[in-house]
């Protein structure tokens, strides 16, 4: 589970996050929506240990973020709109590399399993840069779960994907989220937000402005709540 208290992040004079309090229970699927500049990416990057908070604390599975960073990373899988794969390595080589830096045991077998899970076994020996965007994103998902993390962090994973690729990714993430326990996803797109989520949070200007159980909301109600709580930012609406 994830415990966050008073999380604040400032970049010089820009305050990206202003005291966020949040708890994510084990096995929960939390979606965070919000306009551009709300702080969603910053928030997720802090959870992924890519950024250090200015103030406040974060505890992941009982481990405090700053001192136990290395251990925390073992339990986290991160997917963003950047696939984080090396273009000049093959699909299999990419996975093998990540497997090695994540200390994955029985690597070859794991790579095979993952390739068939994401539907890339036919392209195992293709260079990553020859893959389409959708396929690269699938490789990215494989990369992110190679070490069987218990927490998945997804930062706007649907960016740049067409309808078909989006559908494929959604299916993949459904499967993945049943293996991993906890998922935190950020997105612009309110449609994508509602489906798989247990709980929804709206982040605006570094604050949480709205929270609800997903089962209590329909898409229309979500849109309404969104417009209402991001009042000053109508120009920066969702897609």
């Amino acid at each position: 589970m994830i415990e966050i208290q008073g999380l604040t992040k400032s970049f010089g004079h820009t305050h990206a996050l202003r005291g966020v309090d949040l708890q994510v229970a084990e096995g929960e699927f939390l979606t965070i929506v919000g306009p551009n500049g709300a702080g969603k990416t910053t928030f997720l990057r802090i959870l992924a240990t890519l950024l250090k908070p200015t103030r406040g604390f974060v505890r992941i599975n009982g481990l405090n973020l700053a001192p136990a960073d290395v251990e925390v990373r073992r339990q986290i899988g991160f997917v963003s709109h950047q696939p984080l794969v090396y273009g000049n390595l093959t699909v299999a080589e990419n996975l093998r590399f990540y497997g090695r830096i994540y200390d994955v045991p029985e690597l070859e077998q794991r790579v095979e399993t993952l390739l068939s899970l994401v539907g890339l076994d036919g392209r195992a020996h293709s260079l990553a840069r020859t893959l389409s965007r959708g396929m690269q994103q699938r490789l990215s998902v494989a990369r992110s779960i190679i070490h069987e993390p218990s927490i998945m962090l997804l930062d706007e994973p649907y960016t740049g994907l067409d309808q078909q690729a989006s559908r494929m990714l959604r299916g993949l993430l459904q499967t993945v989220s049943t293996h991993s326990h906890t998922v935190v996803m950020t997105t612009h797109n309110l449609e994508h937000a509602l489906k798989p989520a247990d709980r929804l949070v709206i982040l605006c200007r570094g604050h949480i402005v709205f929270q609800a159980e997903a089962s209590t909301l329909g898409l229309a109600e979500l849109r309404e709540a969104y417009w209402q709580h991001t009042e000053g930012d109508r120009s920066l609406g969702p897609s």
């Binding site: 992924a48 240990t49 890519l50 950024l51 250090k52 290395v70 251990e71 990373r73 073992r74 986290i76 991160f78 963003s80 950047q82 696939p83 984080l84 794969v85 090396y86 273009g87 000049n88 390595l89 080589e93 590399f97 990540y98 090695r100 830096i101 994540y102 200390d103 260079l127 990369r143 070490h147």
Partner: protein
């Protein structure tokens, strides 16, 4: 040994990727060749004893070709934010530093290994003596140690490739001076014992800066 395994994984990744395209290697090679040609024309007309300028030419060439390599090596990590991939892994940041540094070292040494026989032929000197080879290795270690850290910074700025030489060259001056002195000494046939202080300086530099750079690397990559 987890640490070593990861360091080697990073080196392996860089080597495999490079072997696929050979972009970096070929551009470094062509660049170094061009430098020899230009230098041999610039100096040929004015200097009779080629051995006087050879050490300087050698090390200037290595320094510039090395800068080329450093820029490219870190650029591939920064493009597509792939550095994130490394930062997400369960390892200390210093592991990334050593992995990249070792990779840089391998590439630069490879080019130097290729250039030394060519230099020897063009300048009609024997540059393949063991003492000289040792100097090349030690000098390149110092260069790669500082260069890996600074290129990580430079590549994150607007000025990118232009900034790296500006940051790097004043700092690696001791390496260049030592290396040139020892090279010149070897070509002059001086006793190995005379070169000892320079060698100590080189080794001292390597140790001090590998330490300082690996300790500060964390702050450069983590925001």
């Amino acid at each position: 040994m987890h640490f070593l395994n990861k360091v080697l994984a990073i080196v392996w990744k860089d080597v495999v990727a490079e072997l696929r395209t050979k972009e970096l290697f070929s551009s470094m090679f062509v660049f170094a060749l061009l430098m020899i040609v230009i230098f041999s024309f610039s100096f040929d007309l004015r200097v009779e004893r080629v051995a006087e300028v050879a050490p300087g030419v050698l090390w200037v060439t290595f320094a510039f070709a090395g800068t080329l390599e450093l820029n490219r090596s870190l650029a591939t990590e920064v493009e597509g934010a792939r550095l994130d991939g490394l930062l997400l892994a369960p390892m200390e940041r210093s592991t990334i530093y050593f992995g990249k540094m070792l990779g840089n070292l391998v590439f630069i040494l490879a080019i130097e290994a290729l250039m030394l026989p060519i230099f020897s032929a063009v300048f009609d000197l024997n540059l393949l003596q063991p003492g000289l080879l040792l100097t090349v290795v030690l000098g390149t270690i110092g260069f790669a140690a500082v260069g890996t850290l600074l290129s990580t910074m430079a590549v994150n700025t607007r000025a990118r490739e232009v900034l790296l030489p500006v940051l790097l060259f004043p700092i690696i001056l001791p390496v260049v001076l030592s290396a040139v002195k020892i090279t010149a000494g070897m070509l002059d046939g001086q006793a190995w014992i005379d070169m000892a202080p320079w060698l100590r300086l080189l080794i001292g530099f390597d140790i001090i800066f590998a330490t300082v750079c690996y300790m500060t690397f964390d702050y450069v990559v983590q925001g």
